[in-house]
Homo-oligomer: 208 residues x 3
């Protein structure tokens, strides 16, 4: 029986692909909820299941990492990647839960805009992660990372515009608190995508 | 004269036990304040002393860690444990200070409920930490970690219910801001307990 | 041709000095805005340029770190230092942007006070960083770290006093939300300075 290290290494890439797939599902589901203005029990339940499936894979990655002697790149980078990706799904879920809790069940065009940015960033992130398998081919990975950074900047700008006008026109302090928090939460999702992109870029540099 | 490494290793366990003891004292004091609705100067002063004694032990752990060549488990885990435990006491203290600052000196049954959860989680955490001395006996440590996770979920649910009804019935935006912040702070204490449980679980896996 | 490691090591110190210089410029610019009550487009634009120049140096440090085999002290400490210093400038910029977004263009004596504390802490931090070059001479570095801790405590106290009286006298919930957030953001700048001081202290212990 031969002894091969490569399958062990590839496993991490497969697991990251799974995490990435769950993230894109979470982002698509969030965007649908925003477009329909339906942050109701059934939709939150579905998001909770998505979040739970991401938890399982994250634990699987950490578990394999703790037992594994040889890793495709630095252990701390694998650890950081898995946790940031998990944080991303947690954050999407958390914003959705707040929308329900605050009964914000109207279609809000700004929240739809945030949801679209999160979905685009999640897709770029899935591409970058999948590219890590062939980390010597930097180019397409970097293109995705740059796209993630661009989307985060767009999100920053959107948040400032949206919260600015929220306060300018505020007559209902309670509604202002609710929307401020959920818009900021949505923007935080884009920040986490950028954190992932930064980890990926540092992996590229170390392995170049 | 013999040369023994074991005492040096045990020292860390003793120090974590001390940190855990201070945490349970802080949690008990917080629960008493909540039950009496007395977040007054005298009680905050006492909490400040508790927090300061935790600082001293945290510094002691970090200092010993920086000077020590052999550690009972990974340096970064010892570091992370010490800091998270310190963060927990800081957070309990911080919530108590906000309660005083906002003059929230009535007995609030939801805050009492949070305080009870924090106290239970702190006790479970002290048990788990004390078990690390015999980390080959996973079972009782894992039982405590599972309990900490359960309490965090309960806290999440409590926060959503409590803040949901706070906003549903809100007529006073300023009071809403105050209570929202302190309830969220209380729930963050349970999050930090869970972070500690996660570190402990990863230590178990690495040393299994 | 000789082969020298020392210049490579000194490079990090030079880069940290540059980061420190940018931080003191950012802090001085923030203090000027606060003193004039002018958080306007031109001033925010200038702060954005300062923040961008800090980004470039941070990337440069991380890049050199990833390519470098020999470092003057632990890689993770260099990494943590560079990131915390970058976070500090980001936070100062972020508070300034919020002041503009909320149109808080009056001279507020408490914000001026925070700005002065941030400027003092930034100067102490620049001194401590510059001292790392001669890390065997602990004394002056520790004096700066103690000063940074003292300023953070002062900031904590200021925040509690200021937010306490903000809520005591609140008639306008929207204005209360705005000021609470910006005061807390200003205090977070001092927290980050303290985080940097903690990293510096741990570097000293490890290299003593």
């Amino acid at each position: 029986m031969g002894f091969s290290l490569i399958p062990k290494e590839v496993q991490f890439f497969d697991l990251f692909d799974k995490q990435a797939e769950i993230i894109t599902i979470a982002a698509a589901h969030f965007r649908e909820m925003a477009e329909k203005g339906q942050f109701d029990d059934a939709n939150i339940e579905k998001m909770s299941d998505i979040e739970h499936s991401c938890d399982l894979i994250t634990h699987d990655i950490i578990d394999k990492l703790n037992r594994c002697f040889i890793t495709p790149f630095d252990r701390e980078d694998i650890y950081a990647l898995a946790h940031e990706l998990d944080d991303l799904v947690d954050m999407i879920y958390s914003v959705a839960k707040r929308m329900r809790m605050y009964k914000l069940n109207t279609v809000n065009k700004d929240m739809v805009q945030f949801a679209l940015l999160i979905e685009q960033s999640s897709c770029a992130l899935a591409k970058a992660l999948s590219g890590l398998r062939h980390s010597k081919h930097h180019k397409p990975i970097l293109v995705s990372c740059i796209e993630i950074n661009r989307l985060e900047n767009e999100g920053d700008h959107l948040r400032d515009t949206v919260i600015g006008s929220l306060f300018d026109n505020s007559t209902d302090p309670i509604a202002t608190i609710k929307w401020k928090e959920t818009f900021e939460g949505a923007e935080t999702c884009l920040d986490i995508c950028e954190d992932v992109a930064n980890i990926i870029e540092s992996i590229l540099v170390k392995n170049s």
